[in-house]
Symmetry: C2
Subunit: 425 residues, 2 copies
């Protein structure tokens, strides 16, 4: 990778120092002042609607000229509807309970010392994401509400939109009497600056990469800072031989087709081979526009049932389609289903449809994914649906946060012990 | 660093695969069976006392031949007293509540789905530590009790002792009907194998380095696996101008001298310059055998008080002595004390001695260390003292675990959602 210039190094160093300085101030700022900044930001977005769309049009034009189209282009767009949803999200985050200062636990030691475990901000967060500019505001707002400073590094396609959104956020912070550098956007989007950012473990406490596998691998390999990764979702729906056919069909169709482009959508359906409704369920899935893919054994079985199925190698079962495609695996029994899912899952979400209590128990106790669903759709794996409020993303790591990374996960704790002269004997 | 041979690569790969296989079994093992293995291990240690001391003598002899002496040699020794304490620790861990399966939280979603957040083992742990062989048993026992498989990499000085202890542990596991490779010791202790171990993020879920700064930096720089670090403790005692002199003296002497070689011992005393008892307190500290060190300004002030003080550079305030030495800093007021501690602390433990409520509040709210003490000794920063039971160490990181890393911190969580056919609209 390209060597950094002295200017580029100084640029990163300055971002970090400013973030750390802001973080020390945010640590003792009250909820009212943070809420005020969020309210001002919502008002600024409303007032600057036409300017936002205008700047966003520049990004869209550049992206089209660079040959970007379809879902990627759509994600980049700041329509009135998207701006509305960002404003709603700001109000929602404003209304979240402030996690900072919560006494998580507390007790008195035998020697009379009173111990409190208190929720405190993590400090400085770096969030690295792809082209969606709404993330700039959503993540900035979550960081602020939890008293963390944030360095945001969005995709280069969204740079013009992001710069405007970040400058509005900085204005809102200043108007609320907070350090404007509590939220900083990396204006320089060359990829070779990212490893330098990821080495600043003296300043940055947590890195959150949100995006494709390549980005996450890149961050993991280059970071000296702890990483909470929001990786792909290779989510399974397993249809057990005792499943209610209507329920199985409804859940599978929902998990696969209700919003195929998101990480909690199903990517593989596992079915007990002898379940009488296999053909009917897969046909309904195909009628919903979904292409089936399976290994040669599955293909051969489906051929007998007169169901077309594209070829899939063993490796293919690791695939996250994010589209109207699905891997199919026929198994002998629950045991094989669990082994298959253990092997190919990305640890995100798995569902079982069954009427058998023991099967449900085996499935949920032996599989080790962030969320396991019995007789309901994987699509519920979401902070809002869980009732946790806005989320930074779905953590597929096991440390610090697992599943929806909500505002409480943007905090750590410290112990405060109050004594009357106690010493250790 | 030296290239790995094919044999060495295969050795690491095999350790990892065995650990992962054991971890899948441990996930659904009950508490009684884990306790049984711990009881057998305690019995085996008792039965093999003389053999343990015999093998340990080999390590001690090699260490002495290599010029190791003093505290390092002492830590390596498995005396009857140390063996007793390992056995006691096994019984204590056996009696700890099993964290696995605890329902951390649970509620019903609006759509009727029942959500449970359950405590589950992390999976595979790698623990990298220095010469103390008791860690092999202590950490192995904590890993087992929390249903985690562990790969242990102790210091090469303790290899003969560690091999015996690990083989006894594997025997205990097998006798209890558990996979003996749930606890594995790295027999090959060449340092160049460690980076290869730290790349196995497909198999290992968490790395815990316990030791000096060099080891921790080495692990952080080479690991693709999440790290919870147990770093040095540059702990401060701040004596505020309103402090009760007797309390201040007692707490400072305890924090510095009760056990100087541990991470929660004080390494720096900060005093308000105009506090009338400065001279008396520092003299008492010197009479307890402690050497004072300070920057030129502090030296000059102490000279006026006729107190000898060795020279210290600014950088010196970062130092962890682990011995009867202490850095001294005289400040104008609380504000300066907070700024000094923020700058030089390692984020482990800081104490204030004061009679002023506002000063105590400022100190505990503005400083961001794992534990803050008001009018009591930093020496209480310990899992056992906090009432959390045996600990892996004191985490100085902010993610996942901060402060005493107890058995609950060796777990993560998963969500289980039970529905009746719910789909997302």
């Amino acid at each position: 990778m390209k060597e950094l210039t002295a200017d580029e190094k100084a640029y990163i160093a300055n971002l970090c120092k400013e973030a750390k300085r802001a973080s020390a101030i945010l640590r003792s700022v009250g909820t009212a002042q943070k809420n005020k900044a969020l309210e001002i930001m919502a008002k600024l977005l409303e007032e600057n609607r036409s300017k936002i769309k205008q700047e966003n049009a520049v990004d869209l034009e550049n992206a089209e000229a660079a040959g970007i189209s379809g879902a990627l282009l759509e994600r980049l767009q700041l329509s009135d509807k998207v701006i509305d949803s960002i404003i709603t999200s700001l109000h929602d985050i404003r209304n979240l309970k402030d996690p900072v200062g919560e006494v998580i636990a507390g007790w008195k030691l035998e020697n009379g010392i009173e111990l409190n475990k208190i929720r405190v901000p993590i400090g400085v967060l770096a969030v690295i994401y792809e082209s969606r500019p709404n993330v700039t505001v959503d993540v900035g707002a979550l960081a602020l509400k939890s008293s963390n400073a944030a360095i945001l590094r969005g995709g280069k396609e969204a740079i013009v939109s992001n710069q405007l959104l970040a400058s509005l956020f900085q204005k809102a912070l200043a108007e609320a009497g907070l350090p404007s550098n509590a939220i900083q956007l990396m204006n320089k989007t060359s990829r070779h600056l990212v490893p330098e950012l990821l080495k600043q473990d003296a300043y940055i406490d947590l890195v959150v990469p949100r995006g494709g596998e390549g980005l996450i691998r890149f961050v993991t390999e280059n970071s000296l800072i702890p990483v909470v990764k929001h990786d792909k979702g290779v989510c399974h729906v397993y249809i057990h031989e005792t499943a209610d056919p209507d329920q199985a069909t409804k859940i599978l169709i929902n998990a696969k087709t209700q919003r195929p482009s998101v990480c909690n959508a199903a990517e593989c359906v596992v079915l007990d081979k002898d379940y009488p409704e296999v053909a009917q369920i897969l046909k309904t899935l195909q009628e919903a526009g979904v292409t089936l893919r399976g290994d040669s054994k599955t293909q051969a079985e489906l051929q007998k049932l007169n169901i077309p199925c594209e070829n899939l190698t063993e490796e293919g079962y690791h695939k996250e389609y994010l589209d109207l495609e699905i891997s199919v695996k026929l198994v002998e029994n629950l045991e094989q289903a669990i082994l298959h899912i253990s092997e190919y899952s990305s640890g995100h979400s798995e569902a079982i449809v069954t009427r058998d209590l023991e099967a449900a128990h085996e499935f949920t106790s032996r599989l080790d994914s962030a969320a396991l669903f019995v007789n309901c759709s994987t699509r519920f794996h979401d902070g809002g649906q869980f009732g946790l409020g806005a989320e930074v993303g779905i953590s597929t790591g096991k440390l610090h946060a697992r599943g929806p990374m909500s505002i409480a996960d943007l905090t750590t704790s410290k112990y405060i012990l109050r004594g009357q002269g106690q010493i250790r004997e």
